[in-house]
């Protein structure tokens, strides 16, 4: 009996998977679409992760020192100098629009030898508006540090107290690590919810499900087969994103592949259950679509798909930590970036297991064949 039941599940899972790989629209949305997002977001948050200041530099001085200083700023990768801002007014307008972080002004006598001094001197100004207070403060201290070095070259001074910054880890988390984990979540969200909430109502309206209902096929067999098939597709989709992220965005893989696969499968089964509950309940797409969106949007914005959760207000972090997608995104990041294994992810796996029980109980009760 069990053997027969497993055979049924296996054939249905296999054929469902074939169907997806033969369907061009499904292929685009499950495989190409997440990749496009990966390239867009990877382009924005990937690559060089260091802080960069967009500044205008207004050099009113003709001294050699100031010329040399500007040249140095231009070559420094920390600064992105806007060449169009040739006057303070232009620069201010750009700062108001948020296009510039600050303006560095080197006044007329900057870098000239004044009085009896044997060395050049001057005071650079950092001009900013309220929007950019933080950037300007950082910029000021960066410039301050640079001037200190210059000063030391001219005037020998003792520095009894000093401070030195020492980086902790070998390599901190880059923004892209968050981006990648989020996009894996995005791909699973799309696969799990948008797929079944459109496909099942369509199949109902055509009478395809009703026809299956005339056979001895059981709801649980059908559920398991479909969840299995979507897990296989989920693994392929994430694998493609993973390879692309490794090749184009230098993603570091610090964990093991089995753990990554395990969290992807758990996540896909959970999210697919939500899609199944909605699509299995709805009589048509008009019923399914709004529900799918109500469920999807909070997860899309609060589970760490597009924005890291640590940047959110505490209350939102607390609420969103219970969303079904959150442990998936966190889990992927902890495995890929921090090298944890699936066995270290007790809270994440536990939360997903709880969701699976809840979601599939609802889906099972709400399912309608027609």
């Amino acid at each position: 009996m069990i053997k027969k039941e497993l055979f049924t599940i296996w054939v249905f899972a296999k054929l469902e998977t074939f169907r997806t790989f033969r369907d061009k629209v499904a292929l685009f949305f499950t495989f190409v679409f997440p990749l496009i997002f990966l390239f867009i977001f990877g382009g924005i948050f990937g690559g060089n992760n260091s802080v960069k200041f967009k500044v205008a530099v207004l050099n009113e001085s003709k001294s050699d020192f100031s010329q040399g200083f500007v040249k140095q700023l231009t070559e420094d990768e920390t600064f992105d100098i806007d060449k169009e801002s040739t006057s303070l007014d232009l620069a201010k307008a750009k700062m108001d629009r948020g296009q510039l972080d600050a303006t560095i002004v080197l006044p007329q006598n900057f870098g000239e030898k004044s009085g009896n001094n044997a060395y050049p001197s001057g005071e650079a100004q950092v001009i900013y508006n309220q929007n950019n207070e933080q950037a300007a403060t950082t910029l000021t201290s960066v410039l301050g540090g640079a001037f200190e070095k210059v000063n030391a070259g001219f005037v020998k001074s003792e520095t009894p107290f000093s401070v030195k910054a020492i980086s902790t880890a070998k390599e901190g988390q880059r923004r892209f690590d968050y981006t990648f984990a989020g996009l894996v979540g995005f791909s699973i969200l799309g696969l799990g919810i948008f797929g079944p909430t459109t496909v099942f109502p369509q199949m109902k309206q055509k009478g395809i499900l009703k026809r299956l209902h005339t056979t001895t096929l059981k709801v649980r067999q059908y559920f398991i087969a479909n969840a299995l098939s979507s897990s296989i597709i989920g693994i392929v989709s994430v694998a493609m994103m993973f390879v692309a992220a490794r090749i184009f965005f230098d993603l570091n893989m610090n964990g093991d592949y089995l753990s990554l696969m395990a969290i992807v499968v758990l996540g896909t089964i959970t999210l697919f259950g939500i899609g199944l509950a909605i699509g299995g309940w709805a009589k048509n797409e008009n019923q399914a679509a709004p529900l799918a969106q109500i469920v999807t949007f909070p997860m899309m914005f609060l589970s760490g798909v597009f924005f890291p959760r640590f940047a959110m207000p505490e209350i939102l972090q607390r609420v969103s930590s219970f969303f079904p997608l959150t442990p998936v995104v966190d889990g992927v990041r902890l495995i890929v970036t921090e090298g944890r294994t699936i066995f270290d992810l007790g809270p994440q796996v536990g939360l997903l297991a709880a969701w699976i029980v809840i979601i599939y109980t609802i889906a099972f009760r709400a399912f309608r064949w027609e």
């Binding site: 027969k4 369907d23 005339t214």
Partner: protein, 254 residues
């Protein structure tokens, strides 16, 4: 009449929608190996009756026994005993015909030779095509093959020839005859009189949720004539359909 000749017993079968009895306490028996037709205009309750017997709809009153199994009490067992052809057969897209047959067999936990089943309904050439690329008649034939994968005892068909051209209809009649020859009992609905007269051993005529007559087509006609019924028109030796078939042939066009 409780003997082995009867495969299906229906007693006082009732279905209520919105307080209206759409199937109003009907009784009938179906003999093993016969083709039993349920006739009636649209809305007479044919499809609802069929779906109750197929364990797809809840039975609100009365009972139905199929091969000794109570339909309401053991739907899973009933489903293993029957094959069902719905009004408009539809299959999941992007599946080859062989895969669809495999899928239906797997639904019953069985593995079959899909090609053989396709050969029986003359679809062997289309084995690797997707079902969405089939014509209406081909889809009906695929549906028959899919309904028989598990060797059912009773085959239900709901208006199988609606929307088909005359050639496809005749072909389907042949297939239904073949199914019966294999010892399968056929229960079908139709609203085509010629189909009922030609194909069915006995027919029940339904109207407003009730069976208004039940007999062989010949007896039904005889009884009508006994009442002194006379057709106003003289009966022609051929009709327009005969002309059409004569001109276009009996061969399938799909």
């Amino acid at each position: 009449m409780k003997n082995d000749d009867v495969i299906m017993q229906v007693k006082n079968l009732t279905k209520i929608y919105d307080k209206k009895k759409v199937v109003n306490g009907i009784d009938f028996e179906v003999k093993r190996g016969e083709i039993f037709g349920i006739l009636g205009p649209n809305g007479a309750g044919k499809t609802t009756t069929l779906e109750m017997l197929e364990a797809l709809r809840q039975i609100d009153g009365g009972e139905a026994l199929l091969d000794g199994v109570n339909v309401a009490k053991d739907p899973q067992k009933i489903k293993a005993l029957i094959g069902v052809q719905p009004q408009t057969p539809a299959f999941a897209e992007k599946l080859k015909l062989t895969e669809i047959i495999d899928m239906f067999a797997a639904a019953y936990g069985e593995k079959v030779n899909a090609k053989e089943f396709l050969r029986d309904v003359d679809l062997e050439e289309k084995a690797s095509a997707y079902s969405e690329n089939l014509s209406g008649g081909q889809r009906q034939r695929l549906s028959i093959a899919a309904a028989l994968v598990h060797g059912p005892k009773v085959f239900f068909l709901d208006e199988p020839t609606t929307g088909l051209d005359p050639q496809a209809r005749r072909n389907l009649w042949g297939l239904i005859e073949d199914v019966r020859k294999k010892g399968v009992t056929v229960i079908m609905t139709t609203h085509y009189m010629d189909e009922a007269e030609l194909l069915c051993d006995r027919i029940a005529i339904m109207d407003n949720g009730k069976i208004v007559a039940l007999d062989t087509p010949k007896n039904l006609i005889k009884n009508l004539l006994k009442k002194g019924f006379k057709k106003e028109q003289t009966v022609e030796q051929a009709n327009l359909e005969d002309v059409f078939i004569d001109l276009t042939g009996k061969d399938l066009r799909d």
